[in-house]
């Protein structure tokens, strides 16, 4: 087994070493159900699709993904194992990606466990399963973006609580970046072109088409670029803060 696989497996199993994984899965599944059926008016809409299910994913991820991400590097720094890990024959990049993939896979499992939702909608009607699959993939990509932000912020601190709170705040900003709440805050002092740029960074805006089952290449590229950018920033932060 090579070092990247070994680290991936360790990180993945680490979630299940504490009750964290199970608590997360239960909360995630209960909340997706509650949101879909009560807030999303799944039945009242009388449509054979999962839009009312996917609509709430950004809001679920906003709080749940930071809880998955917070330990990734903060815990390593707190316990000093970051020194152990980065003196093994594994490059910083490999370590960052292995850890990210482990957490992402865990989220993928949580997402996959919502399959009863898919069964329900297929039982009740004849949905476009291709669109549902596309929305699942888009949702996972968006979760990866939330996670990558969390990875970077987790690297800045040795406190998991601080990592969690700051990640939620930053993710909140990116979730709503295309909406007046955030844009108004910038409009006063940023030139219009930059305000446009901020507006184009919103998760909700990029998720708009995805939740309907349309996986636009631009949205895929956007989320992939977010993941790449935040992981890169995370690696720089880890390198920079080693001496602390």
């Amino acid at each position: 087994m090579n070092a990247v696989t070994a680290l991936f497996r360790r990180e993945f199993h680490a979630y299940f070493a504490t009750p964290l994984a199970y608590i997360f899965l239960v909360i995630f599944l209960v909340l997706t159900g509650v949101f879909t059926f009560y807030l999303g008016s799944f039945y009242e809409r009388s449509q054979a699709d999962l839009e009312s299910f996917f609509t709430f994913h950004p809001w679920l991820y906003l709080f749940l993904v930071p809880a998955i991400a917070m330990r990734l590097w903060a815990e390593e720094r707190k316990s000093g194992t970051v020194e152990l890990l980065l003196t093994l024959p594994i490059s910083m990049w490999q370590a960052v990606i292995a850890k990210f993939l482990a957490a992402w896979s865990f989220i993928a499992i949580a997402l996959a466990l919502t399959f009863p939702m898919w069964i329900t909608v297929n039982y009740l009607g004849a949905p476009d399963n291709g669109a549902i699959l596309a929305a699942y993939i888009g949702s996972l990509l968006m979760a990866g973006s939330y996670l990558a932000i969390g990875v970077c912020i987790s690297a800045t601190t040795s406190s998991q609580v601080i990592a969690f709170i700051v990640t939620v705040v930053v993710c909140f900003f990116f979730t709503l970046a295309g909406y007046p709440l955030v844009l108004e805050a910038f409009r006063g002092w940023l030139p219009d072109t930059l305000v446009q740029l901020v507006a184009s960074l919103g998760f909700l805006s990029h998720f708009e088409a995805i939740k309907k089952g349309v996986l636009d290449l631009r949205d895929v590229v956007y989320f992939a670029a977010m993941i790449g950018f935040w992981l890169y920033a995370g690696a720089i932060v880890i390198d920079f803060k080693k001496a602390d």
Binding site: M1, N2, A3, T5, A6, L7, R9, R10, A14, A17, T18, S79, G80, T81, E83, L84, L86, T87, L88, P89, I90, S91, K242, A243
Partner: protein, 308 residues
């Protein structure tokens, strides 16, 4: 061979490691001594490839830690300060994980795992989570992971810190057993450890190398090296008579212990002349012995000079 060349590290404006150069050959156990904050751990972190030096480099078996980091790190076993390990893992799972990180496979992996568990005596705690272990066992787990892949170079930052005397003895024995074909660098505060396991000792302070020699050479720099102690009550004449002997610089009289110590300038062997004196005057002496010099005293005087 471990070659350290002009290693420098600066934190903010403070030069923590200042142009450190030395070479260690296989078979040598190098003891790294220095007061807290002297730069010992920082130096070790740079050799292990965790911190990037501001200048200089370290070569581990020819592999440069700055430019060829992974190659160098694969030849190296490192026990960081405080022996960190993943607390949520069982000891056996942790060691298996480290074996995988070191790309050990098949029979070799199985054999190395069994061998370190035996050498470091971890049999009884294999199924325990690391965060439930005592400090001594944690340290041993750290040692086990460092030697797991049978590396050519071992960097151990305070390997016996927090161990009881029996455990210290075990770890020192382990280090001595491995020392024949390896390069081992240990940092320590415990000077008796240097005498027990090291073939070479270095004292650093303020990031600078002050002394490099065998523990014996270091001890010779002690003021007390070659001093002769007489166990007797001073009858009044002894101190004065010793003082008059050629080669004696000072005489210390410890009445509480009932010891008189004649300290020489190092150029003459005092034992013979003092023996003659004792016999000639027939002093009621309970014992006569020669001191070898004490490392802690050398350590104190050298580092104090450097700090002022």
């Amino acid at each position: 061979m471990l070659e350290i060349e002009g290693l420098c590290k600066r934190f903010d404006e403070h030069l923590v490691v200042n142009d450190l150069s030395f070479t260690v050959q296989p078979g040598e156990v190098l003891g790294f001594l220095g007061p807290n904050g002297a730069g010992k751990s920082t130096t070790m972190k740079m050799i292990a490839g965790f911190l990037r030096p501001d200048a200089g480099t370290a070569r581990i078996g020819g592999a440069d830690i700055v430019n060829d980091t992974l190659q160098a790190q694969s030849k190296l076993g490192y026990l960081p300060e405080g022996a960190p390990a993943y607390g949520d893992m069982r000891v056996d799972r942790f060691l298996e994980f480290m074996a995988d990180m070191r790309s050990l496979r098949g029979e070799l992996r199985r054999q190395r795992l069994a061998s370190v568990v035996h050498d470091v005596h971890l049999e009884s705690v294999l199924a325990q989570r690391i965060d439930t272990l005592s400090k001594g066992f944690r340290r041993r787990v750290g040692l086990a992971q460092a030697i797991l892949h049978d590396p050519d170079v071992l960097i151990l930052d305070e390997p016996t810190d927090g161990l009881d005397p029996n455990q210290k003895h075990e770890v020192r024995k382990l280090i001595s057993n491995m020392s024949a074909e390896k390069i081992i660098v240990i940092s320590t505060h415990i000077l008796e450890e240097v005498e027990a396991v090291c073939s070479r000792a270095m004292i650093i302070a303020n990031g600078r190398l002050l002394i490099d020699g065998t523990p014996l050479e270091l001890a010779k720099r002690s003021r007390l090296h070659g001093a002769v102690t007489l166990q007797m009550k001073d009858s009044g004449e002894a101190v004065a008579a010793l003082q008059d002997l050629p080669g004696v610089v000072t005489v210390e009289n410890d009445e509480a212990l009932g010891e008189i110590t004649a300290i020489g300038n190092g150029s003459q062997n005092l034992l013979a002349s003092i023996n003659d004196l004792v016999r000639e005057r027939s002093w009621p002496v309970d014992g006569v012995y020669q001191k070898h010099g004490r490392l802690d005293e050398v350590f104190r005087s050298i580092t104090r000079e450097a700090l002022t």
